[in-house]
């Protein structure tokens, strides 16, 4: 429960979210989304929600990112916005 840590991660989260939505390369966007998931997982571990953090690490940063990348590979990599 270190609130300084909390505030720093929250600011990074917003930055990661904006970057992942601004990138025109969908592969990069998916990877930044993975970073976003790891950051939020760190935040939850810090808040004492270990089970949620564990699940987010396995699902959000793991499987979600993998299936997103799988879709990007089987469709198109560039996006117009």
């Amino acid at each position: 429960m270190i609130w300084q840590f909390d505030i720093i991660i929250l600011i990074f989260l917003v930055i990661a979210a904006i970057i992942s939505l601004r990138l025109k390369d969908l592969l990069g966007a998916s990877m930044v989304f993975g970073i976003y998931s790891f950051l939020i997982c760190l935040l939850w571990a810090e808040m004492g929600a270990v089970d949620v953090a564990f699940t987010e690490a396995a699902v959000g940063a793991g499987v979600s990112t993998v299936i997103m990348i799988a879709t990007v590979f089987s469709t198109k990599r560039r996006s117009k916005d």
């Binding site: 564990f54 699940t55 396995a58």
Partner: protein
């Protein structure tokens, strides 16, 4: 559309922000949510009533076990939904694995690394499933890791090799059996004459007293969750990475 979206988002944001001033402080241990009898009951009585030190597991698999059953059903729906939407049965049928030349997976280094760490990932996943009572983890997390180990196998050695272990038919059977275990365990309680998912009646069936019956039952339903999640995670990956043809991995 952009202007409309911006206005909608700003209205929503303003509404939500206006309500936050009214909230109890963050980290306040006396906020209504934190001092309510419900959460106090979970914290104070769980260990006595279920002999499970991890309250999250106990709440997940016992007090709110009905929710968790539907959570497993959600995963199951996602799995069969993806097959229903995307699967293309024109290609080679799942039971006959046809190796294609271009389905070789990654290079040598990745293969060797993979074959070194795969057993450890799988053992750790099983540990997470089984040890969810005492440490963070449980059926869902363990199942995802077990599924991820097969995804790793498919990435390194090609999808056909992974499908040799985990064919499409077997995936579906695993997924359905997982929910069968969960809901069937609840029905067993029903047959013993108590409510659905009331594990306490099963103490005559399981070793130990009533509290241990709850603890063991939680382990069993977590195993059911793990079955479904493992199968569906692999099925999701294999369908999405091959556009539903299941012939060639990423």
């Amino acid at each position: 559309m952009k202007i409309f979206g911006l206005i909608a988002v700003l209205v929503v944001g303003a509404l939500l922000l206006s309500a936050t001033s009214d909230f109890p402080d963050w980290r306040d241990k006396d906020s209504p949510a934190n001092k309510s009898p419900v959460s106090s009951f979970y914290i104070e009585k769980t260990e006595k009533l279920t002999k499970v030190p991890n309250m999250v597991t106990a709440v997940l698999a016992d007090y709110r076990g009905y929710d968790t059953m539907f959570e497993t059903v959600v995963i199951f729906i996602a799995g069969i939904g993806i097959i229903a939407v995307l699967r293309n049965f024109d290609g080679p049928y799942s039971s006959s694995i046809r190796r294609e030349n271009n389905d070789e997976g990654s290079g040598l280094l990745a293969r060797i690394t993979c074959s070194l760490i795969l057993p450890f990932i799988q053992i750790f996943a099983l540990y997470v499933v089984a040890h969810g009572h005492h440490s963070p983890g449980g059926g869902f997390q363990g199942g995802v890791m077990l599924g991820a180990s097969y995804i790793l196998l498919a990435l390194a050695f090609g999808l056909s090799k992974a499908k040799g272990y985990f064919s499409e038919r077997r995936t579906m059977i695993f997924a359905a059996v997982g929910i069968f275990i969960y809901a069937g365990w609840g029905v067993l309680c029903l047959l013993f004459g108590k409510e659905f998912l009331n594990y306490s009646v099963l103490d005559s069936l399981l070793p130990g007293d009533v509290e241990m019956a709850r603890s063991h039952s939680m382990l069993i339903v977590e195993i059911g969750v793990a079955f479904t999640v493992t199968a569906i995670m692999f099925s999701m990956y294999s369908n999405l990475s091959t556009r539903g043809r299941l012939n060639k991995g990423l």
